[in-house]
C-alpha cells in the first residue's frame, strides 16, 4: 500500500531521516517507535506530503505522492497536537471537514462513543486538551479511510476514552485497514500491533512482525522486548 524507498530528509545541516525504506500493507497495524527526536513525526509528515523528502520517493497504492494530493482522501490523520480555530464550534469543524472531503458515508461512531455528540455546540476555545484530542480522533476516523495515521493517539486522553479509541483501532484493523501508530506507551500497543518499526537517529533499525520480535528476544511483552533491543 505505502512503499517508501531511500527517503532522506534533513532540516538545514541536521539529518532527520537517513535512507528509510519500508513497505506497509493492508491489514497491518504498525507501531512506529523510537526515542524523542528520532524522526517519527517527520516520517509521518513525509507520508502525508507535509514534508517533501530531499531524495527518495514514496508511493501510495502504486502512485508517487509528489505533486499529488488526491491520494490523501484515503488517509485519516490524527496529529500529535490538535488545535482548531478558536471561534468555531465542534459541529462547524466537523461540517467543514465533510465539506472538504465531499464524502457521503461518514462513520460517526467515534463521535458518539467519545461523548462529543452532546457538546457539539461548544466552541473550540473552551475545550480542554483531552477533548480536542477526541475531536482529532473522531476526524481521523470520520471518513472511513483505508489508511489511518495516528501520531500519539492516546496522549492526553482519559483511560476510558483511550480504551474506546483502542477498541475502534482494533475494529478497523479487522476491516483490513493499514494503521500506523506512534506512541511512547508501549504497554498499550501490545494487543494492537502486528508489526514494529524502530527508528533511531533517523535510521530504520528494524521492521519486524511482532511474533518474530518476540521470538528473537524471547520476551512476551513488547515493553521488555524493546528494552532488550535498546540495550543490546
Amino acid at each position: 500500500m505505502i512503499i517508501a524507498t531511500n527517503v532522506n530528509k534533513s532540516f538545514g545541516k541536521l539529518p532527520v531521516l537517513k535512507n528509510i525504506s519500508v513497505n506497509c500493507n493492508e491489514g497491518e497495524c504498525i507501531a512506529l517507535i523510537g526515542p524523542n527526536g528520532s524522526g517519527k513525526t517527520t516520517f509521518i509528515k513525509c507520508l502525508l506530503g507535509m514534508v517533501v523528502p530531499d531524495s527518495g520517493f514514496i508511493t501510495f497504492a502504486g502512485k508517487n505522492i509528489i505533486h499529488d494530493w488526491e491520494y490523501r482522501s484515503h488517509i485519516g490523520y490524527m496529529p500529535q497536537i490538535g488545535r482548531y480555530p478558536d471561534n468555531m464550534t465542534i459541529a462547524q469543524v466537523l461540517d467543514m471537514m465533510k465539506d472538504i472531503r465531499k464524502q457521503r458515508n461518514v462513520d460517526e461512531t467515534l463521535i458518539h462513543a467519545l461523548g462529543l455528540s452532546d457538546i457539539l455546540k461548544k466552541r473550540m476555545r473552551t475545550l480542554s486538551g483531552g477533548t480536542r484530542q477526541k475531536v482529532s480522533a473522531s476526524l481521523a476516523f470520520l471518513f472511513n479511510p483505508d489508511v489511518l495515521i495516528l501520531d500519539e493517539p492516546t496522549a492526553g486522553l482519559d483511560p476510558v476514552s483511550s480504551e474506546i479509541l483502542k477498541e475502534k483501532i482494533i475494529t478497523e484493523k479487522k476491516n483490513g485497514k493499514l494503521i500506523l501508530i506512534t506512541s511512547h506507551i508501549l504497554s498499550e500497543l501490545d494487543d494492537l500491533v502486528t508489526e514494529v518499526m524502530y527508528l533511531q537517529e533517523g535510521q530504520l533499525k528494524f521492521h519486524k512482525s511482532i511474533d518474530v520480535l518476540r521470538k528473537d528476544t524471547g520476551e512476551e511483552k513488547l515493553t521488555r522486548a524493546i528494552a532488550q533491543v535498546m540495550q543490546g
Binding site: W69, R72, P79, G82, D86, M97, I100
Partner: protein, 247 residues
C-alpha cells in the same frame, strides 16, 4: 471564514474605526475637512491592523493549517482561501467602520475613492502579512517582521524619499518621484485621495506634476493597477513558497 469575523479583535477594530470616523466628522464643521483628518488616521491604522492581525492569525492557526494540509486539498487552494478569508474580513470591517460614515457625510467621488483605496490597502497588507508569515517560521520573529514592514511603509520610506530629494535637489526630481510613489502603496493611496480632494495646489510643483499624471484617466488606471499589483505580487510569492514549505 466565519471564524475571523467573530473574532473579538475584528469586532473591536470595526467599532474603533466607526468611533474615529464619526467623531472626526462631527468635530469638523466641514465634511471635506473631516475627510482630510480622517485620511491621515486611516492611512496609519488600516495597514497596521491588517498586517498585525493577519500575521498573528496565521501563526495561531498553524496547527490547523497543518491538519488541513493532510486533507485532500491542494496547498495553493488552501492558502488562497486563507487569503480570501482574511482580506474579506478586513475589508468588511473597514467598510462598516469607515465606509458607512464616509457615505453618510461625504457621498461623492472623494469619499468613494477613499473607500476603494482603503479596502485595497487592507487587502495589500493582508497579502504582505501572508508573505511575511510564510517566510519566517518563528512566531515572535514573524510578528516582528510584520511590525517592521508596517513601520517601513508608513514612516521609514517617507524618510528615505525626503533624504533622496534633499541630496538631489539640484536635479529635476518630479519623474523619479512618480516612481518612488509607486513603490509604497500607502503613499500611492494618499496621493490618489488628495488629488481627488483638489488640494494638490498645496503640494507645489511636484503636486502639479502628480496632478498632470494621476489626474488623467491613464494615470488613475496606472495607479490602480499598481495597487492591484501590490495585492497580487506578495500573495503570489507567498503561495509559491507555501506550496514548497515543510510544515
Amino acid at each position: 471564514m466565519l471564524d475571523i469575523l467573530r473574532s473579538k479583535i475584528i469586532i473591536g477594530y470595526t467599532l474603533f474605526l466607526l468611533l474615529v470616523s464619526l467623531s472626526v466628522f462631527n468635530l469638523e464643521d466641514n465634511a471635506s475637512k473631516g475627510l482630510a483628518s480622517l485620511l491621515n488616521i486611516l492611512l496609519i491604522i488600516v495597514p497596521l491592523i491588517s498586517i498585525i492581525f493577519s500575521t498573528i492569525y496565521i501563526y495561531n492557526s498553524a496547527e490547523f493549517i497543518e491538519l488541513l494540509v493532510s486533507q485532500p486539498l491542494k496547498r495553493s487552494t488552501l492558502w488562497m482561501s486563507e487569503f480570501i478569508g482574511l482580506s474579506s474580513a478586513m475589508s468588511f470591517a473597514y467598510f462598516i467602520g469607515a465606509g458607512i460614515p464616509i457615505l453618510l457625510y461625504q457621498p461623492d467621488a472623494v469619499g468613494l475613492t477613499m473607500i476603494g483605496t482603503g479596502i485595497l490597502l487592507s487587502i495589500i497588507f493582508v497579502s504582505i502579512a501572508l508573505l511575511a508569515s510564510v517566510k519566517t517560521r518563528d512566531k515572535a520573529k514573524g510578528i516582528g517582521v510584520a511590525i517592521l514592514l508596517w513601520f517601513y511603509f508608513s514612516i521609514i520610506f517617507d524618510g528615505i524619499v525626503l533624504f533622496i530629494l534633499f541630496q538631489f535637489q539640484d536635479y529635476p526630481m518630479e519623474k523619479p518621484m512618480l516612481i518612488f510613489t509607486a513603490l509604497n502603496p500607502i503613499d500611492l493611496s494618499r496621493i490618489l485621495i488628495l488629488l481627488k480632494m483638489d488640494i494638490s495646489a498645496l503640494m507645489g510643483y511636484t503636486g502639479a506634476v502628480f496632478k498632470d499624471f494621476f489626474g488623467t484617466v491613464t494615470g488613475t488606471v496606472i495607479a490602480l493597477s499598481t495597487l492591484l499589483l501590490w495585492v497580487a505580487a506578495p500573495c503570489w510569492l507567498s503561495v509559491r513558497s507555501f506550496v514548497k514549505k515543510d510544515l
